[in-house]
Symmetry: C2
Subunit: 316 residues, 2 copies
């Protein structure tokens, strides 16, 4: 039997080596490019951005493991075998790296860094004092493992933290809002909006111009800020460009985009109060990813329940 | 008897109003510009950057209160009456604002933000993954109220935190180094250096080219980083410019300068990996400053000890 690596644009060389060293002897590690690839021998699959033929011929597949915490490209795949359990990688290391990104962007915008960068460019000395953390409200959309950890760290730094999610969540120090009915109330209290939502049919394109107009306007000198560390599909990029240009938004940080790599002619590159990073907020390390799959296979073979099973109907 | 406001370049109007409302009836609030100013009536003084004549004729002065936590301009004044107790403002609000600044700069540099800003300008998509907080070492020079609070918050975010101070300090999760003999060992383990030292004869000009060469070189992709939130006098600016130009340093954040406002022709303005803010890291609020002085006067009149007394021989 075998574990099929299906890693999209990620080079599988290091992963293959690490899996070979860690898997039990009765499980081979294979890719579709192998000369002797036998789809019927595949029992397990490790997936990142599946290609069109990713699931073809896998008649004996028992478990799909997702390399990322976001499973939207897998759930949306038309040939996904929906009767096979899908377990997603929710890893402490990935979570803390995402929180690192969120804390860095939130504190950067709380301190109004893009405002001072513009002053620096103009060689102007203007002693504006930014708000303290406790005078600044951070609204986190999505309170799963990533959102909850970011919220905890931001509460620890003294920020006023609000959360919005599908269902009400009870997190220490976080004012919780749930569902479409409480979205506007959540937005009206938010200075810095952080998107950590799963990408589903309900959340696709949520971050649009109308939503931006509902954020709190009298909090930050620059105006409200959007940080998107979830998926490019959450954000309507042309709406963000418009909102940054007309002052509806004061600044933004984007790690993910509608098309990746971000095309060279995107207007986003040139907007100085829109900080762009190339989808590097958090990465699944080879070491931890291998352990996740090897542990999952052992659990499965021992008849134990798998961790972080995806509900295909809700999409995460 | 009176409290003399001596606030340098700060407009005293709001302070005067707030003091009038808060002081007991037997203490007037005065400035040297008042038509009926009587130096012999002055018992208390509230000082920020004292002018040359600040202390002239104050023969009945009993306590000097410093508006800032840094008392170097007062201690260095040639006419300071050295037998009068000097109490400096160490305030929780000022401390948390300073920590806000430090956390924002440290996380910004840990996430290698100036590197991505350069990529963005060039419209380049390079998926470099920055180190996690626990892979990044922050060295704090100065472990007084400000340094200790910043260290605590950075430990909470998972950073490896080192501290250097005149005497050994015992802070949870912080590796402590003390005195000139342990400075090189401290620097060799530091990726991001944060200066929160008091400005004294021992610390003036400490941040020079030679010191920059001793920082850890294999930690951050950009190379080591310097954050100065203490006093402009700690840093030799031409050495910083040289170190940023030749790659000895990867980036810097400066809130304070040798001359303030920073002159329009300073080369610092144009260095894109040197983030400049106009001495706004932390401010003493009128409300808190007034409470500090009013409480101090009440303590003094009740014969109780004053808080945060400065030792003029060590300079803080």
């Amino acid at each position: 039997m075998s574990l099929l690596l299906c890693l999209g644009d990620i080079d599988p060389v290091n992963w293959r080596k690490a899996f070979k060293a860690a898997l039990p002897d009765h499980v081979d590690v294979v890719t579709r490019d192998d000369a002797d690839f036998d789809p019927s021998a595949v029992r397990y699959m490790y997936v990142w951005k599946p290609a069109a033929d990713a699931f073809d011929g896998l008649d004996n597949l028992e478990v799909i493991f997702s390399l990322g915490a976001g499973v939207d490209p897998i759930v949306a795949h038309p040939k996904l075998p929906r009767n096979v359990p899908l377990s997603r990688f929710v890893d402490e290391d990935l979570t803390t790296r995402m929180t690192d990104y969120v804390v860095a962007q939130v504190t950067l915008h709380q301190r109004q860094t893009t405002y001072y960068m513009a002053l620096q460019k103009a060689r102007e000395w203007v002693q504006y004092y930014p708000p303290a953390a406790n005078e600044c409200r951070v609204g986190i959309m999505g309170l799963g493992a990533l959102g909850a950890d970011a919220a905890e760290k931001l509460v620890g730094l003294g920020f006023t933290v609000l959360g919005w999610s599908r269902n009400h969540k009870d997190l220490p120090g976080v004012e919780s809002f749930a569902g479409p009915g409480q979205l506007d109330a959540f937005l009206s209290k938010t200075d810095i909006l952080v998107c950590l939502l799963p990408l589903t049919e309900d959340t696709r394109g949520m971050l649009d111009y109308e939503l931006f107009t509902k954020l709190r306007r009298d909090g930050l000198k620059t105006g409200p800020v959007v940080v998107n560390a979830a998926r490019g599909g959450h954000l309507i990029e042309k709406d963000l460009v418009r909102a940054l240009e007309d002052g509806t938004l004061g600044a933004a940080s984007l790690d993910v985009f509608e098309v990746e790599p971000l095309p060279g002619d995107s207007p986003l590159w040139a907007i100085e109060n829109c900080l762009i990073t190339p989808h590097i907020a958090a990465i699944s390390s080879v070491h931890r990813g291998v352990r996740f799959v090897v542990d999952g296979i052992a659990r499965h073979e021992a008849g134990e329940p798998l961790e972080n099973l995806v509900d295909l109907d809700v999409g995460y």
